[in-house]
Amino acid sequence: MYSKMVTLRFPPEVVNEPIIANLVKKFDLTFNILKATIYPRKEGLAVMELRGHKKNFQRGVRYLKSLGMKVESLGQDIKRDEEKCFHCGACTAVCPTGALYIKRPQMEVLFDSDKCSACEMCVVACPARAMEVRLDRSLLD
């Protein structure tokens, strides 16, 4: 199962299309709308979580883009739950940016969020599930 938070910007001509219904019917995706607005000039904005098989997700996004919509993934923040992290080091195998690294000789695993690219590789690689995705909520307010 694949799931991603996306923002969709609709041009005025597609505001009345049954886009969401099509995503469900044609691509077998499920959704959870966090915000949806139509601005005075008739363009729309929706922030939603889309879930489904990765292939279907990609086809769905292609479909949206073919209608002239802008699809962006929502800014996400990676946080570490310091209570859960037991400093094994397993995450350092997958972190491509060095945001997760080991301080030697103490062997303490540190997380430098400034270096984090939010690639989410560590989220499932961490055995303790200490790495969490949090949404950048500024778009929702």
Binding site: A90, T92, A93, R104, A125, P127
Partner: protein
């Protein structure tokens, strides 16, 4: 008869503990002491060396008696938070294994699976005092007519809950690399293709059985640190094998001995008993174990004085060889090199990644040291030794 200097018994050490005179050091401190003063002097000065390890240990689980219900039930199938437990025991006895995934887990159908919740997590939740949903079914008998039971349980209201891990505290373990062309997901963590990283999983010089390589001081009845509480070694682990190649210090160069351990879950702390999810592999339990090793003589001082530079393990390819069952050593690497962050392999620098927490292992060794110094932890004499080889 005059005794050799530095020779002592467990009884004498316990007397010194009670008198507040015991000298306890952690295994990393002992490595320094032996390096500086030699094993003869170290044996005279030090009574006990404390060790520690904290890592996923798959062969772990708990025996639970959940108490009789009204009407009574002879449970034949039992789930805890939807994780199946083994119920082929008496009416309300079960064993919950650490690697059992929740029944509706998608497993590896979408590879690599996430294995979010399993037996290890149930055990941690119980130890943390959380409510756990127990579900049982039964076929019904004259003495146990009930066929269904749904109940919330917590550790404090269980009549009996004991952690009994059939195989923990492996003496040395492989250093895993992946020589295939795709990323693989193993119990040794994520391994990138073409030797992209090398993972290892022992606490090296702090590791319990690396400090007593011939199991001379421990066996059934040895009191240890287990999951934050006091527990016991109850025998050799299920893959205990002393017959392996050993280095010149006598320490195995590949996986060798292991321990079966047991302890009361009600005294444990969820910091030291942690349910884990190994991506693409399954659920497990990270267990904190610390074994105090009495420095009975000069030989034990030498054994407990080993440092990471003198401890080696074999490099194994988990990409092709291991899954085919044709694993063989591709070379030896020292724990000092593994801990440095990179190792040389086929002329290339390969990043090294621990799966075992050295920081937590050291914390355990320090806790056991404090327990012994404060007099609240006495050493026990092992009643039956575990199988070993000639040294």
């Amino acid at each position: 008869m005059a005794r050799k200097k530095g020779t002592k018994t467990i009884k004498e050490i316990n007397r010194r503990i009670k008198e507040g005179k015991v000298v306890v050091v952690t295994a990393d401190e002992m490595a320094e002491i032996v390096k500086r003063k030699g094993p003869t002097k170290a044996a005279m000065e030090v009574d006990v060396v404390t060790t520690g390890t904290f890592a996923p240990m798959c062969s772990s689980g708990a025996f639970i008696n959940f108490g009789h219900s009204k009407p009574a039930i002879k449970a034949s199938k039992v789930w805890l938070n939807d994780v199946p437990a083994y119920a082929g025991l008496a009416a309300v006895d079960i064993y919950i294994g650490a690697t059992e995934p929740a029944e509706d887990d998608p497993l590896n159908r979408v590879h690599p699976g996430q294995f979010k919740y399993g037996g290890g997590h149930v055990i941690q939740d119980l130890v943390a005092g959380k409510k756990v949903a127990l579900r049982a079914t039964a076929y019904g008998t004259d003495c146990y007519p009930n066929r269904k039971l749904n109940r919330k349980i917590t550790l404090s209201d269980l009549p009996y809950a004991v952690l009994l891990n059939p195989r923990n505290a492996y003496q040395n373990y492989n250093c895993a690399i992946n020589l295939s062309n795709k990323t693989i997901y193993t119990y040794m963590g994520v391994l990138k293709p073409r030797a992209g990283n090398a993972n290892y999983s022992t606490s090296g010089q702090l590791s319990p059985l690396l400090n007593d390589p011939f199991y001379l001081t421990l066996g059934m009845g040895t009191r240890i640190f287990l999951g934050g509480a006091k527990g016991y070694i109850i025998g050799p682990g299920t893959q205990h094998n002393p017959n392996v190649k050993r280095g010149k210090t006598g320490v195995p160069l590949s996986p060798a001995g292991n321990l079966m351990v047991m302890g009361d879950m009600k005294e444990m702390d969820p910091k030291w008993i942690v349910g884990v999810s190994m991506v693409g592999y399954g659920c497990s339990l990270a267990v904190g174990i610390g074994v105090p090793i009495p420095v009975l003589n000069e030989e034990m001082a030498r054994f407990t004085g080993v440092s990471d530079e003198e401890l080696f393990t074999q490099i194994i390819d988990y990409g092709n060889d291991y899954p085919k069952g044709t694993a063989h050593s591709l070379g030896l690497v020292s724990y000092a090199e593994l801990k440095s962050g990179t190792m040389k392999f086929n002329g290339k620098d390969v990043p090294t990644v621990p799966m075992s927490s050295y920081l937590r292992a050291l914390e355990i060794a320090r806790i056991v040291k404090k327990w012994i110094e404060s007099g609240e932890f006495l050493l026990t004499e092992p009643q039956v030794m575990i199988p070993t080889v000639k040294r």
